[in-house]
């Protein structure tokens, strides 16, 4: 027998009160820890994905929506930027690399994105939990398709020439039927090679060499491009970013696929330009160049540039205000729970008066009794805190899995120093709550209590 065992035994003697108070503390702690962890973990997860490129160019509109649409595959495209802009940007000093993006097709709910092969070689991805970024992507199976910026430009020039020809023909043979003309150019097999993200491969069962038909539109069931099956040539390693949930095709393929060619009534050059691009990812020289590129692009009327990491930070600042409210609520829950601990222990004091007196007769000091009761309370706080952190961990895991399923962003939270501090804070707060009943124990008049029957 020793003092800690006396404390434990006293808690064990009141299993119901001990369980209930521990649980009430744990709920508050779980809420507090989960809210904070989730926000931090998802922010760092989103920041990691935002770090793929330093600058993003897209149609004028909401900067946040552009970021979410282009990098996280959420929401709808706000429109296109002219193809010419891509060529301009590519030639701008300070631009280290650029990946044009065409969005709009999907396969079984996973978005198909037209890109050049710079995506595989040049984007930056920091290992989860580490700061320094690795350049380029790694493949679990197969390899990336080859589709350079030059290839893309070539296809665009061919298409432009072809269109001009057709327009001429049209002018000559007025009223004649030209349906089927667009099928004219041969679908180069190389153009219909696909690289799929880890999650896509897992969920759809697309393996190396598998063929599939992209469908038009990004949501739900829509018509398939049954003329253009794509073959899987590479499967990416899991990245914990939206890359895992995407399918990549050479961007040139986008423009030769049926249903993407210009139709009557479409305006060239504007945000609806069917020949345009959804967005361009840029890697730029940090500092002076980057700021200049950003400014020049934002001076234009037909495009804008955003820093994805800034957008993500702004997004989480907004989220953060809601999160603060939740945190205060959880603090209140903890405070109320600790008051419960205090009352629960206080209620036992009358019945334990005799017991305290006996301990005094056995040589316990008043301070020892104070310590026993404060320890009981602190231990309830500690257990509650521990259980709460466990609950928070489970909650973060579940919600994180949900976020990952929706966005591909890996939300991972490991208990660290903040959790230790939280546990310590709850334990200390519980000890203080225990001071109230402990004072009653402290003041027990021994001789009197020993003499009283009961």
């Amino acid at each position: 027998m020793n003092a800690p065992r006396i404390v434990l035994r006293n808690l064990k003697r009141r299993p119901l009160a001990t369980m209930l108070t521990t649980m009430s503390v744990s709920l508050g702690v779980a809420l507090f820890a989960a809210v904070g962890n989730l926000r931090e973990a998802s922010e760092s997860g989103f920041q990691r994905s935002a770090g793929l490129c330093d600058t993003l160019v897209g149609a004028k509109g909401s900067t946040l929506e552009l970021t979410l649409n282009a990098l996280y595959h959420m929401g709808q495209s706000q429109g296109n930027i002219p193809y010419s802009l891509y060529e301009e940007v590519r030639a701008t000093p300070g631009v280290l690399w650029s990946v044009p993006m065409a969005l709009g097709d999907s396969y079984r709910g996973y978005r198909i994105i037209g890109v050049t092969d710079d995506l595989f070689g040049r984007v930056h991805l920091s290992a989860a939990g580490r700061e320094e970024a690795q350049e380029g992507l790694t493949f679990a199976e197969g390899k990336g398709f080859v589709h350079t910026a030059g290839d893309f430009v070539h296809i665009k020039e061919d298409l432009a020439a072809q269109e001009a020809e057709e327009a001429e023909e049209e002018a000559e043979e007025e009223g004649n039927d030209h349906s089927g003309h667009h099928h004219a150019h041969n679908h180069d097999a190389e153009l219909f090679q696909a690289v799929v993200g880890a999650r896509v491969a897992e969920e759809t069962g697309l393996r190396l060499g598998a063929e599939f038909f992209p469908s038009h539109g990004v949501s739900g069931v829509s018509e398939e491009h049954d003329d253009a099956p794509a073959t899987v040539v590479g499967i990416l390693e899991p990245t914990g970013t939206p890359l895992d949930r995407a399918i990549y095709l050479p961007i040139g393929a986008y423009y030769v696929m049926d249903g993407h060619e210009p139709q009557e009534g479409m305006v060239e050059g504007g945000a609806r330009d069917p020949r345009g691009l959804s967005a361009v990812m840029l890697g730029t020289k940090a500092g002076f160049y980057r700021a200049g590129i950003y400014r020049n692009l934002n001076d234009r009327l037909d495009a804008m540039a955003v820093y994805p990491s800034v957008e993500v930070r702004k997004l989480f600042e907004i989220v953060g205000t809601g999160d603060l409210v939740l945190r205060w609520i959880s603090v209140l829950v903890v405070v109320v729970a600790l008051l419960g601990v205090m009352v629960a222990i206080y209620n036992t004091m009358g019945a334990r008066r005799k017991e305290f007196a006996i301990l005094r007769a056995l040589g316990a000091r008043r301070r020892s009794l104070l310590g026993l009761v404060v320890s009981e309370s602190a231990l309830l706080g500690f257990f509650g805190g521990l259980l709460g952190l466990l609950l928070a961990g489970i909650l973060v895991m579940l919600v994180g899995e949900q976020v990952r399923a929706l966005t591909g962003v890996a939300v991972e939270a490991w208990p660290g120093l903040p959790e230790l501090w939280l546990l310590l804070a709850v334990t200390v707060a519980a000890a203080f709550a225990g001071l109230v009943p402990a004072m009653a124990a402290y003041r027990t008049e021994t001789a009197h209590a020993l003499a009283s029957q009961s």
């Binding site: 005094r360 007769a361 056995l362 040589g363 008043r366 001789a447």
Partner: protein, 217 residues
């Protein structure tokens, strides 16, 4: 061993006036001596034991126990002193529910300095004839068995003074005789000074010395 001198203790009465409870001129008990304290109800027997154990502090006078004047010590020091030098057996034994017989005995050493020898609690329980009931809670022990556990607990710290307040008060005559014999034999075996407050003439008669509290003033 124990020397009380010019002792005076009073409580504030209901009317606010100090009501004297106990007054002693000069009272001694030698090491290993066994004596009974008798006196009418309310005469101050329990109070005297509480003074010797340091649970109470006199308003004036000297309470010298084992060479220490408890009247000059602060409460915490008296608590420590009690833990190390004094064993206490109560009328209703005051065992703690929720702790087994053995744990109750071990509790006797928790607040003293230093660790008790391992197995001491078990030895003491064997010695009082309860080796087979060590893991029983007090509520499952007979009253006589509770008295024995209480004695074992009082002996845990190898006290020099054993105080017993009506130790036989809640026992039938047969059990009372057994417990009393056990108390006296144990005290004798370990050369412990035994002071036993009692109402019971028969109990008092068993002791070689018997003091009436009323006569000590």
């Amino acid at each position: 061993m124990i020397h009380l001198q010019n002792l005076r203790l009073s409580y504030p009465g209901p009317d606010g006036q100090e009501a004297p409870v106990l007054a002693l001129r000069d009272w001694r008990a030698a090491r290993g001596e066994q004596l009974a304290l008798v006196g009418g109800s309310g005469s101050g027997k329990t109070t005297l034991l509480n003074l010797i154990s340091g649970l109470l502090k006199p308003n004036q006078g000297v309470v010298e126990v084992a060479g220490t004047d408890l009247a000059t010590l602060g409460e915490a020091r008296r608590d420590r002193f009690r833990a190390e030098h004094i064993g206490y057996v109560f009328q209703s034994f005051h065992l703690l529910d929720g702790f087994s017989a053995r744990e109750n005995v071990e509790l006797g050493a928790v607040f003293a300095q230093g660790k008790p020898e391992p197995g001491r609690a078990a030895e003491l329980l064997e010695a009082v004839g309860l080796g087979h009931r060590m893991n029983y809670p007090p509520s499952k022990l007979s009253v006589g068995q509770q008295a024995r556990v209480s004695l074992a607990r009082a002996l845990m710290n190898k006290p020099e003074v054993l105080l017993a307040d009506e130790p036989t008060g809640s026992l039938d005559p047969e059990n009372a005789a057994q417990v009393l014999a056990l108390l006296r034999d144990t005290a004798e075996a370990h050369n412990i000074t035994l002071i036993c407050a009692t109402h019971d003439r028969e109990v008092a008669d068993a002791f070689p010395r018997c003091d009436r509290v009323e006569d000590l003033a």
